[in-house]
Symmetry: C2
Subunit: 260 residues, 2 copies
């Protein structure tokens, strides 16, 4: 594996402001204080279409509900919830999981600031997975029917929405490839490279970062047990490819990692 980038855009962004305001107030999507501030948001280049006019940008901001804070471990939505909105991660990160009927769960994705969440509900009108914050996070709430309405008028927005959905499709196809054909070491290497690339896109160091997820969550995402993930990290460490201290990761030889 090598080509594990996430989203075509590469506009770098500055440091992301720490989220976490400890109040639990603005939790309802309904109470629409009109207007977000997309035009000044650091994540704009990731979740908004390019080339909107100022007027369109204003309409877009009017449509977006004020951001909601989700603390570490809390869920943004659950499988079966009625699908009303999609969510742009403004700060923090999430995992999405699907639950087997026997209680086993699988992580289907990790979503960083700038990613869009919730498109899994478009087809059936109900969400098909749970989205859970893996650190204190903030999301912008975008009512989907309003977005659809505006898409019928603004071509650039329509195409952007289509690209977002298309991106989700190819993201999953890549993951299927990983799960279907790759060995444990290749999977872990692919995971690290993917994360590295996405952090780079967001203006962070691609070589040194802090994992927000546990070994178990990584393993679930990659289709293996947490012990195996740990062993792979240890092996990479021994081989001088990475330097790990628990959740702190430093990639030492990115090329070798990509060659695995």
């Amino acid at each position: 594996m090598s080509d594990v980038a996430e989203y075509p855009e590469t506009m770098p962004v500055g440091h992301v402001p720490a989220p976490v305001s400890r109040d639990t107030a603005a939790f309802t999507a309904a109470t629409a204080h009109p207007g977000a501030q997309c035009s000044s948001c650091a994540m704009q280049s990731l979740c908004m279409p390019q080339g909107l006019t100022a007027a369109e940008m204003e309409r877009m901001e009017a449509l977006i509900c004020p951001s909601r804070t989700i603390r570490n471990g809390e869920t943004l939505y659950r499988a079966g919830d009625s699908f009303q909105s999609i969510y742009a991660v403004r700060a923090g990160s999430f995992k999405t999981i699907v639950m087997h009927r026997d209680g086993r769960e699988q992580v289907t994705g990790f979503h960083l600031a700038g990613d869009v969440l919730g498109l899994d509900g478009v087809c059936s009108g109900k969400h098909s997975c749970d989205a859970i914050a893996i650190e204190d996070s903030k999301v912008c709430i975008i009512p989907f029917h309003l977005l659809e309405a505006m898409c019928r008028e603004v071509k650039a927005l329509q195409q952007h929405v289509h690209r977002m959905m298309g991106n989700e499709i190819v993201r999953e196809a890549r993951l299927m490839m990983l799960l279907g054909t790759m060995s444990a070491d290749q999977r872990v290497a692919a995971f690290l490279l993917n994360l590295s690339g996405r952090l780079k896109t967001r203006g962070y160091s691609p070589a040194e970062f802090h994992l927000r997820m546990t070994r178990e969550e990584i393993g679930s995402y990659l289709g293996m047990k947490l012990e195996t993930v740990s062993r792979m990290f240890s092996r990479f460490q021994k081989d001088g490819l990475v330097d790990t201290h628990g959740k702190q990761i430093r990639i030492l030889d990115i090329d070798a990692l990509a060659r695995i």
Copy 2:
């Protein structure tokens, strides 16, 4: 696994006309003999939105290029091809595959009559997989930019396109679950149940059918080797769950299969 259905719709359809006209003429998407005959197509309930007015239906038919015949083994499009159109399978079936850089390939889906192909290209403007006919087949060609234009005017169509894309997303999420958490026997059982359900939706017998794909393709799709697929079929046979003669399949105990 149990809930492995494919698409919410369940309108049954009659027998599908045999495809295969041996001419290789109408191979270019460009030469638009105006008009398809969606309104009389047996697959209409699967690939077209419900509730279009007669006028909208006509516009839709005008937009669709005449169907193209793809013989067994031929490719409809390849990874890297510029994305222009999506395709509705009119008759026959396809596999989609992604190619690893080391030459290994993985099957990412099997697509029956009524399914839509090609949405993998929406994000980047290039297709991200190959689509190959696994029997003589026919597709309707739908230029995507024209579809997008019409979506801006017809809300029902817009929502249908969104549902199609959303469906692709949940289809892949289910497959990820399968690849990430299920054992070989569960995977093969899930595969048979899924296929059975889709055939039923299309008006065929859900209990007895002919596999269009080889053991190797099934294995590639399910993330295992062809020998393992074969062994699972043999085991199911021994246990009285199915009756297999090569590609001919009869499901004897669908509940037991679902309980695996």
